[in-house]
């Protein structure tokens, strides 16, 4: 039996990529979930510049009043925005952030272990 596609519509708080090639820039917009990404939005809540600036900062601007307004209207939040809001402290830190951190931690530990091994080897060879 073919599955019935979900055609439900709801407001989404999500990112719209503007900027250009090799220079991403995002608007945080409110749109129904099935509308085109770069459509004229119902509301723009802010913007994200994912490329770090001179001081190594990623600049994000959010209008929290409007964000609350749309949340109260039952808008859904997309995963990247949830992630970002978790880092911003508005929502709890997203589980995928923890996952990423765990993976990074493991990788770093592995690298350290490998470097230790190599050091031992090199020390052993010299002596």
């Amino acid at each position: 039996m073919p599955s019935i596609p979900d055609k439900s519509t709801r407001f989404m708080i999500r990112l719209a990529r503007w900027g250009c090639t090799n220079r991403p820039f995002y608007h945080i917009v409110v749109l129904p979930n099935r509308k085109p990404r770069n459509m004229r939005p119902h509301d723009q809540l802010g913007s994200i510049d994912p490329m770090t600036n001179l001081y190594g900062e990623v600049l994000v601007s959010i209008n929290f009043d409007r964000l609350k307004y749309w949340l109260n209207r039952g808008a859904h939040i997309s995963k990247p925005v949830e992630h970002m809001l978790g880092l911003a402290g508005f929502l709890p830190v997203h589980p995928t952030s923890y996952l990423q951190a765990m993976r990074n931690r493991k990788k770093a530990e592995q690298q350290i272990a490998e470097s230790m091994k190599e050091e031992k080897k090199s020390v052993g060879g010299q002596s």
Binding site: L71, P92, P95, L99, M102
Partner: protein
């Protein structure tokens, strides 16, 4: 692969030949085959391997997601409650609303009156200037018309005078016969040549010839 969406979304056009899209460089995977084609014979019994899941990560994610969803739900309900409380706090009775509207209306009227007063000063000054200009223009027009009328009158009088002077030489029934006689008695000879520029040529030889001919 969102950057390919523009190239791969043209379903009928991309299906020009199996395997290669119109662009040549990018293979359109999604619309390579029409939907009604059966599975390839070599893939009939193919079963997709499930994505490997790290049990440690899975357990961690499950734990965190459980907590995360609970907290987010709580936050959302809190925000909603806060919003409702705020709205109910700001709510006012019908009489208060009417009173506020009345107050606003009065304020608007007063403000309008003030504006009208300030604007009236400017308007009256402007209208005075305009009126003066209008009067001046009217006067000038009247003066010009009068001058033109006088001019026409003088010209007409002069015309009459000229005609009166000319009336002495008019032909009337009384002197008609005399005038006819006069015309008959005055004969003009038009037998002469003219140059290209219209000057009369009265050479002696020609005159002689004319006279000889008349004698003969």
């Amino acid at each position: 692969m969102s950057f390919l969406s523009g190239l791969t979304s043209k379903a009928p056009k991309a299906f020009t030949g199996l395997g290669v899209g119109k662009t040549g460089l990018i293979q359109c995977v999604r619309w390579r085959k029409p939907r009604w084609l059966p599975k390839a014979p070599s893939k009939i019994f193919k079963v997709r391997k499930p994505t490997p899941i790290d049990p440690e990560e899975d357990a961690m994610l499950k734990k965190h997601f459980h907590h995360y969803r609970t907290v987010v739900r709580a936050i959302r309900s809190f925000l909603l409650k806060e919003d409702i409380a705020k709205m109910s706090k700001e709510a006012i009775t019908v009489e208060e609303k009417q009173q506020l509207a009345q107050q606003e209306w009065e304020w608007v009227i007063a403000e309008n009156y003030k504006w009208n007063k300030t604007i009236a000063v400017v308007r009256e000054a402007r209208q005075r200037i305009e009126e003066a200009q209008r009067k001046d223009l009217q006067e000038r027009i009247v003066k010009r018309d009068e001058e033109e009328r006088l001019k026409v009158l003088i010209e007409a009088e002069q015309e009459v005078l000229r005609e009166k002077e000319a009336a002495a030489t008019f032909i009337t029934p009384e002197n008609l016969d005399i005038e006819i006689e006069k015309v008959l008695n005055t004969r003009t000879d038009y037998e002469f040549a003219i140059t290209e520029n219209g000057f009369r040529v009265e050479t002696e030889t020609e005159l002689e010839k004319v006279s000889q001919n008349s004698k003969n």
